[in-house]
């Protein structure tokens, strides 16, 4: 570990704590680092609202993301493979997606609530929208990037269309699919928290948690919650990257 990586952050935290202790920074606007750590402890032990403990907020958020993300990946990867494989299909479907894609996922919240009501389905739908397009587009470009000679090589080994699809297009597109999956999960995680701002029926979720902390005037808990969101996002990306590195060792 290189020690200098921690030097600047540590220094800033010390200065921040110093300014807070001297009351230069008002604690009701920006709590000190120590207060945030204590807020974190409260999130863990007391809960916001009381009794709703942090780990349950995390589980509900992960559940919503997992649901929306899984549906996005399960639809986007096969569809992307098909669209990359068939120029006709690509030409037919692309205009539709080009139209829908620029709409920010969060702009779908009102219609999602109208369609699915407040609850897991709405949230999952928003995450689905955020994750779907990056996965789809990267899968398509992954297929298109496969050198045609590899498809011909498979044909000279008497591959049928099914073999070409499963043994050439799919594995050849994997690196690009992973790029899409990582972008997708990033966007999904971001949209989740915003989607939870609009309300959750179950009373759990990290976005819901920090909005509740605002309602009860606990900036320490807000900031502790934000850090938790950031750290989980980072861990997800690290996890996915580890899987990716195993899958594309051949590169």
């Amino acid at each position: 570990m290189k020690k200098e990586r921690f030097l600047i952050p540590l220094l800033l935290i010390l200065i921040w704590q110093g300014l807070s202790s001297l009351q230069v920074i008002p604690s009701y606007k920006l709590p000190s680092p120590i207060e945030i750590v204590l807020g974190f402890k409260d999130l863990l032990m007391v809960g916001v609202p009381p009794g709703h403990l942090l780990h349950n907020h995390i589980l509900y958020s992960l559940y919503r993301v997992a649901l929306g993300y899984a549906i996005a990946a399960l639809l986007a990867i096969p569809l992307g493979l098909l669209m990359g494989w068939s120029p006709v299909l690509l030409r037919m479907i692309r205009p539709l997606f080009e139209l829908v894609r620029p709409i920010p996922p969060l702009a779908w919240i009102p219609i999602a609530i109208l369609w699915f009501g407040i609850g897991i389905k709405s949230a999952a739908f928003i995450i689905f929208l955020g994750a779907f397009f990056p996965i789809l587009l990267n899968t398509i470009s992954g297929v298109l990037s496969i050198h045609p000679i590899l498809i011909e090589a498979a044909r000279t080994l008497h591959a049928r269309e099914k073999d070409i699809f499963l043994k050439v297009l799919l594995p050849g597109a994997v690196p690009s699919v992973f790029v899409g999956m990582r972008i997708g999960i990033g966007i999904g995680w971001m949209t989740l928290v915003a989607a939870e701002f609009t309300g959750v029926k179950e009373g759990y979720g990290l976005g819901y948690m920090i909005m509740t902390a605002r309602d009860i005037q606990r900036p320490d808990e807000i900031l502790a919650g934000m850090l938790v969101i950031g750290v989980i996002g980072l861990l997800i990306d690290i996890g996915l990257r580890a899987v990716e590195l195993r899958m594309i060792r051949w590169r």
């Binding site: 050198h147 000679i149 590899l150 011909e152 090589a153 498979a154 044909r155 000279t156 080994l157 008497h158 591959a159 049928r160 073999d163 043994k167 050439v168 594995p171 050849g172 994997v174 594309i248 060792r249 051949w250 590169r251």
Partner: protein, 264 residues
């Protein structure tokens, strides 16, 4: 298996009805079973195109290919092609690349693994079975590509400048290796090269192509006994023959240009 070309011609239609490219002109020839035949000719004349037509990757504009007297069926298991660019699947290991065809054929895992391991041994790839193509040298990649084709037991093996990008040392040893493999089998080999030395060392017969559109300008039988000595008087004689024909072909084009200049 005999391989026969009946008046094969090929013209590529130009894109957007632009100018079309006439590549093969009335290729007519019969290759006897079990022969090692090379095609040599100027680059861009249409050698690869002919192999692609035989392999079913391209359609002839006219004419046909016969295998043992019967019209070639597209995708037949009788023909195998080794690509000039190796075309190995980069996400598959040596073993998995060699197994690919058997996998497609539906051979069960144990059987195809044991067959592939035999090829790995024969092709001096032991110890590299779990490496990916990018981890292999050019010579090894070429051996994987050849093994991947031969494991399917094609009766006609097409090879497109397989040793073109190897250094001359590796190239020589690959040539000897290929002859060793071929002499144990009964395949007919059609081997494209632009290397006269290679053609003379390997072949029973050399087909010399003209510039594009490719016509057969000469068929040379090389009947020296094997194993051949590259430096022998016979091989030198064979090389001189082929070179002379190729040089004349080049001159023919130049004189066309000169004539044109005269007209202008």
């Amino acid at each position: 298996m005999t391989l026969e070309f009946l008046g094969i011609s090929k013209t590529f239609a130009g894109k957007n009805s632009g100018e079309s490219v006439h590549v093969l002109e009335n290729i007519q020839h019969r290759i006897e079973n079990g022969r090692f035949v090379s095609i040599i000719g100027p680059s861009g004349c249409g050698k690869t195109t002919l192999l692609r037509i035989i392999a079913g990757l391209e359609k002839a504009s006219s004419g046909s290919v016969l295998l043992d007297g019967k019209e070639l069926v597209q995708g037949t298991e009788e023909v195998g092609l080794v690509f000039q660019e190796y075309a190995l699947f980069p996400w598959r290991t040596t073993l998995q690349n060699i197994e690919m065809g058997l996998e497609i054929r539906g051979v069960n895992k144990d059987k195809r693994r044991s067959t592939a391991m035999e090829y790995i041994k024969t092709f001096n790839l032991s110890g590299f079975e779990n490496r990916y193509p990018r981890e292999l040298s050019g010579g090894m990649q070429q051996r994987v590509a050849i093994a991947r084709t031969l494991i399917m037991n094609p009766r006609v093996v097409l090879m497109d400048e397989p040793f073109g990008s190897l250094d001359s040392q590796t190239r020589n040893s690959m040539q000897e290796f290929l002859l060793g493999i071929w002499q144990k089998r009964t395949d007919t080999i059609l081997f494209v090269t632009h290397n006269v030395d290679e053609a003379v060392f390997l072949s029973d017969e050399i087909i010399v192509f003209s510039k594009r559109p490719a016509r057969i300008i000469k068929i040379l039988k090389i009947e020296y006994p094997r194993p051949r000595d590259r430096t022998s008087e016979e091989c030198n004689h064979g090389r001189r023959n082929v070179l002379k024909i190729l040089e004349e072909e080049m001159k023919r084009k130049e004189s066309v240009h000169e004539n044109r200049r005269d007209i202008l």
